[in-house]
């Protein structure tokens, strides 16, 4: 990470108004970068490019741009920071009148026919940046149109995935958004296997790698150090989940076959009256012997004022795995919180492994969650079972 190095090298130059330093962050969740910069006490302007509109293959990259907007140095190594004043900041460059991309006319763009994937992507990009609140549906439609017009368009698939995940993280969420995002990212990697940024996006939510690079392990330390300075850590819209941390180590929990608590299916089913559930598999297709990560999310139905009853057994997931399949823990338990009742979204992640001799084709894995839930409309507390079906394929 070269941010602290560049910050240190340019602090004084910025104070004297000789240079500006701008960060452009490539995270799906740019608020995490803001927390990172707060932690490192870096006050650069930060622009967010979660959809990789800049079309870069990988990060980080440091570029020196002169007064006219012309690139004078690219791919600056960290070692260049020490001498940047002499090599760039104090240099005189010819002034040029370089063109600037104007603000897009969204109305005109919306009316214009979109005949190619590039047309549709251009509209998706414009609306994603300039559309304001509620833009995400239009961006999704535009990127979807792009991949309909050209199914081989990796950029369209990647950005569609990012826009879907963005919607999943806001109030306009649709329960299938995350799963569809994963499918789009996986397709983008298939089409453009050398794109590091594409590859990492899917891996961020996927099964633990054999030698995982830490993604967001720095967050607890950052928060603690920011607090110790007497500041409030910037809040995150989405807390990183298990797949985004480096610990526990791969296969720290032995893989074993699941057990069941209601094999005869006698428990009453919740069809969403109390709890809405989403499951997402990452990736959607694995080879025999490989693992996939399942994200299971449970949201109390706020219209019925449903809430968790925390004085009894916690939410538990039971899987009925096909022959030869295994899971990294069984059963999967989401602990209760300290309050007697609560309404928070609960989620769990677990890994399932296909047997080494699995045949290619679609697989459906059944299971269910059991939980105690109460609601205010009828004033009842119940114990319910919510059926789960995980669909994926073996390549």
């Amino acid at each position: 990470m070269d941010v602290p190095v560049w910050h240190e090298a340019t602090k004084e130059l910025r104070r004297r108004g000789k240079v500006e330093v701008v960060a452009i962050v490539q995270d799906q969740h740019p608020d995490r970068d803001r927390l990172f910069l707060q932690w490192k006490q870096v006050d650069w302007p930060v622009l967010a490019d979660p959809m990789n509109i800049l079309n870069l293959e990988t990060v980080p990259i440091t570029i020196a741009v002169d007064e006219s907007g012309i690139v004078q140095f690219t791919e600056l190594p960290m070692s260049a920071a020490k001498t940047i004043e002499q090599t760039f900041v104090d240099q005189k460059y010819d002034r040029r009148d370089a063109p600037v991309v104007p603000k897009p006319d969204l109305r005109a763009l919306a009316r214009a026919p979109r005949r190619t994937a590039a047309d549709a992507i251009a509209y998706g990009d414009a609306v994603a940046v300039w559309g304001g609140a509620g833009h995400v549906d239009e961006a999704i439609d535009a990127y979807r149109q792009a991949v309909r017009l050209d199914a081989q368009n990796a950029i369209g698939h990647f950005r569609l995935g990012c826009a879907l995940r963005e919607r999943y993280d806001c109030a306009a969420r649709r329960s299938t958004d995350f799963q569809e995002a994963v499918a789009q990212w996986d397709r983008a990697v298939e089409l453009e296997p050398n794109r590091y940024i594409y590859r990492r996006r899917s891996q961020q939510y996927g099964p633990r790698l054999e030698a995982p690079a830490a993604l967001f392990d720095w967050i607890p330390t950052a928060r603690a150090e920011v607090k110790a300075r007497g500041e409030t850590p910037l809040p995150l819209i989405v807390e990183p989940g298990e797949s985004e941390f480096d610990s526990p180590a791969p296969n720290a929990v032995p893989l074993r076959k699941s057990s069941e608590s209601d094999p005869q299916g006698r428990l009453r089913r919740d069809q969403g009256e109390f709890i809405a559930m989403e499951t997402t598999v990452v990736p959607l297709a694995v080879k025999p012997g490989e693992q996939a990560r399942v994200h299971a999310t449970f949201r109390p139905n706020l219209e019925r004022k449903a809430h968790w009853n925390n004085s009894v057994d916690p939410l538990t997931i039971w899987l009925n795995l096909p022959q030869g399949w295994s899971v990294d823990r069984a059963p999967i338990v989401i602990p209760n919180v300290a309050e007697e009742v609560s309404q928070e979204t609960r989620s769990a992640q677990f890994q399932i492994r296909a047997p080494a001799n699995a045949h290619a084709g679609q697989v459906k894995i059944g299971g269910y969650a059991t939980y105690y839930v109460c609601e205010d409309v009828g004033g009842v507390c119940v114990y319910r079972r919510r059926d789960i079906e995980i669909s994926m394929s073996i390549r």
Binding site: W6, E20, V22, Q26, E75, A98, F216
Partner: protein, 72 residues
Amino acid sequence: MKALLLVTAGLLVLPLTAQKKNIWDRNAPLPYGFNVGDVFPTRALPSAVDGKPTSIASFRGKKVIVNVFASW
């Protein structure tokens, strides 16, 4: 003499080639806007602070170091 010329030419060319060789052996060149002499992309991106679209062109008249990164 011919051989000597070839060797000399090789010596002259070699350091330049080595300099140009990218450390991660990129498969694709950098997109337009990131190479020396290009106009750095001026299309706006949302500010990570308030979502307001902001272009690097708003810094025209100043030298700018752009650090593109991710916190992972």
